[in-house]
């Protein structure tokens, strides 16, 4: 998706936002549904907007609504948020080499805006062959687009209340599936990579009923372990041959 290369800050910024377009469409119904469910779950308009503005993490926001309406305590909600969002630590570690040289005024906001979608889009850009020193502008473009999008659709949801029923059945989330599938396939260049994908997919299916997205974490771990083990074995075999 980055076949046209813009060597300017502005160009990278726009390209990052543009490449996130399918993700914006995919996140929109979730933003609206979150907004509409906020009121009935006991969150005020300000509370719903505050959550999207400051927490900015869709799945944990949805779970927080469920917990709030069930009368859960503060500690439970915060701890659940921690577990659900733990996968972002993996993203943070994975992207670190690409942002390590940037100052805190870049790293702090980019960390704040780190989501599944932006991670998927930017790791693809950071991995691209060209040695552009401005790839963090692309990262910023994707981050700002996702953030603005989430806030706007949350607000739309809050304002529309319940009148948007059925939106979750449109299947707009498929945009995310199509994008992630394309990215994964473009990364499957070696046998250990393919094995990592198979292991992660299999464990994700087996562990899908685990609470708090723990299955996702377990699946990611399984994929990484299988990939590293196979790569290690291949390397030894080649070394001996």
């Amino acid at each position: 998706m980055t076949t046209t290369y813009h060597p300017t800050r502005h160009g990278e910024l726009l390209q990052g936002a543009r490449d996130s377009l399918p993700m914006l469409a995919g996140a929109a119904p979730f933003g609206i549904i979150f907004g509409t469910l906020a009121g009935p779950s006991g969150l005020s308009l300000l509370g719903a907007m505050g959550m999207s503005l400051f927490v900015f993490a869709g799945s944990s926001q949805f779970i927080a609504l469920t917990l709030l309406s069930g009368g859960a305590g503060l500690a439970v909600i915060v701890f659940t948020t921690f577990v659900v969002n733990l996968r972002h630590a993996l993203y943070s570690a994975t992207l670190l080499p690409h942002v390590a040289a940037l100052g805190q005024r870049w790293r702090i906001p980019l960390a704040f805006w780190l989501t599944d979608e932006t991670f998927a889009v930017v790791q693809h850009r950071y991995g691209a062959a060209d040695a552009s020193p401005l790839k963090h502008w692309y990262h910023l473009g994707s981050s700002l687009a996702m953030y603005g999008n989430w806030i706007v659709w949350t607000l739309v949801g809050v304002l529309l209340g319940r009148s948007f029923e059925g939106l979750d059945k449109l299947g707009l989330e498929f945009a995310m599936v199509a994008t992630f599938t394309g990215i994964v396939v473009s990364l499957l260049k070696t046998r250990p990579m393919v094995a990592a994908a198979i292991a992660a997919g299999a464990v994700a299916l087996l562990a899908r009923d685990m609470p708090y997205k723990l299955g996702l974490l377990l699946a990611a771990l399984a994929g990484v372990v299988v990939g590293v083990l196979l790569e290690g074995r291949n390397a030894t075999e080649e070394g001996q041959a």
């Binding site: 969150l43 503060l74 805190q104 992630f180 994908a197 996702l216």
Partner: protein, 108 residues
């Protein structure tokens, strides 16, 4: 906004940001050992596959749907095929989405 709501939002904001910032905070002060670097290369494939596979094979979150009527599966297969054959991400996303919506419309 009640004080309880405020506390919930502050607490969620703090843990979420700390997780996301955990490694970014280190900057270039730390160098990962080679094994960790190697492991991190597998994170994108592992995480993204783990997100997508259950969504595609169990679209409603409960029931397996391993047949041609499953628009999620068909759309994802088309995306995968385009990405593999033509190595063009935008075409893979567009093609998969077109087939997905077309299929749902046809079967509706």
């Amino acid at each position: 906004m009640s004080q309880y709501e405020l506390a919930v939002i502050l607490g969620m904001t703090a843990v979420t940001f700390l997780i996301r910032y955990s490694f970014f905070a280190l900057g270039d002060k730390v160098q990962f050992p080679p094994l960790v670097k190697r492991a991190l290369r597998y994170v994108p494939v592992a995480v993204l596959t783990a997100i997508v596979v259950p969504m595609v094979l169990l679209p409603d979150g409960r029931q397996w749907q391993l047949d041609w009527r499953n628009a999620w599966l068909l759309g994802a297969l088309v995306s995968a095929f385009i990405a593999w054959r033509f190595n063009h991400l935008l075409a893979a996303m567009g093609g998969g989405m077109a087939v997905f919506f077309l299929w749902r419309w046809l079967l509706a």
